[in-house]
Symmetry: C2
Amino acid sequence: MATKKIKELPVILVTNDDSISAPGIKALVEAVQDLGRVVVVAPDKPQSGMGHAITIGHPLRLHKVEFMEGVEAYTCSGTPVDCVKLAVDKVLHRKPDICLSGINHGANHSINVIYSGTMSAAIEAAIESIPAVGFSLLDYSVNADFTAAKIYVRKIVEQMLKGKLKKHFTLNVNIPAVDASLVKGIKICRQAYAKYEEAFIERKDPHGKMYYWLTGEFVNFDKGKDTDVWALANNYVSVVPIQFDMTNYELKTSLETDWNL
Amino acid sequence: MATKKIKELPVILVTNDDSISAPGIKALVEAVQDLGRVVVVAPDKPQSGMGHAITIGHPLRLHKVEFMEGVEAYTCSGTPVDCVKLAVDKVLHRKPDICLSGINHGANHSINVIYSGTMSAAIEAAIESIPAVGFSLLDYSVNADFTAAKIYVRKIVEQMLKGKLKKHFTLNVNIPAVDASLVKGIKICRQAYAKYEEAFIERKDPHGKMYYWLTGEFVNFDKGKDTDVWALANNYVSVVPIQFDMTNYELKTSLETDWNL
């Protein structure tokens, strides 16, 4: 009987980019643990900024680990995207019903969706026709307070599990770093054109040779009130529906008429 | 006089993901060398499949190297995206007029645009408001014949330099691996929904522990005749205009009406 019941529960694959040791992934599992059979496959070390990288030049390792009572968990030596691929092929041997990634320590709004390992894991799942969400809290700290985030994770996952989702359903969810009582609710948004303006810091090593650290200042070039950056600045949880078709259809039309090739 | 003339030429930043040693990047420079002041900043080692990864956990190195008569060239220890960022901030100290990435050894059509370091470098340039193109030849071989590719690279870059381009102009160009005489021309396309279906190969190391190699079979789920996969299969050069706004506007509208959050 117990086995049968477990089989009927939706399978929820959980991953992230901050590694299995990050408090954010524990918060995510705690928020949804009773909604399905949760299986964790997460990187064995931090993989922030890995974007949609995959490991092709060397092989991957997969290890079963202790994580949380009643939750099957594995570490993978690769990127967040590798975690999703390995989870489907070698851990679950099937597609999970949904895939959740995060909760990331730090923002993944605006252009960050492209650099983020957290979001790339969710997008990879969506490419595989697994509905997916990436969650991020606007607090980089290892001691970040996930109370508000957990409330909204649960709200969104419950809504997802209610009905039939589109095949490539993907959301980028960011949660403001404020007390739960101050969060005004959820706003469905578009991705802002806001980005880091790079300034590399130059240093000299003990042998007199230069090296460069990537740093930058975040700049919002997008004054729209329908963006994720606006929503977060106004204490809303931002939800940006994501696609992986990168075709610029507007530019396609203009090239078809204007270019002579 | 000579200095003045050089200053008036468009600055063309060239990068790739196969590293500065790959024949493809030499073919790219040869194709456009007389059209502007070409500056190469490319990875010092292969970076295929790195997607939009950036290096944040450790610093980067940049080295001036010999490359080709009359061409300023540098290697960077990071990813293709790092190359573009470092080139703008620490090599050129300005935005180049255009950025070219490739010529990649191997296809970057359909969903591969998301995994490709070659395309991510071009997309990074576009995010920085630098018009950019990624070029790929459908031949993984180090001995690939770039004759046809060079003809089409030149055609496209000449067209780009003719007029004013949109700020975030980006193209994903793939060239079929056939003799130049068999290429039927250029098709402006959309990105196909075609992807690798993963099958990890399991092996045991000498200590009895498992490891996994990522492999896969390419499957085209998209029967459209307006896709890059169709164009290439029919001996056309495929040109897919690319955007970095990942918002799924259709899903946004449906969530705004259907979801109760």
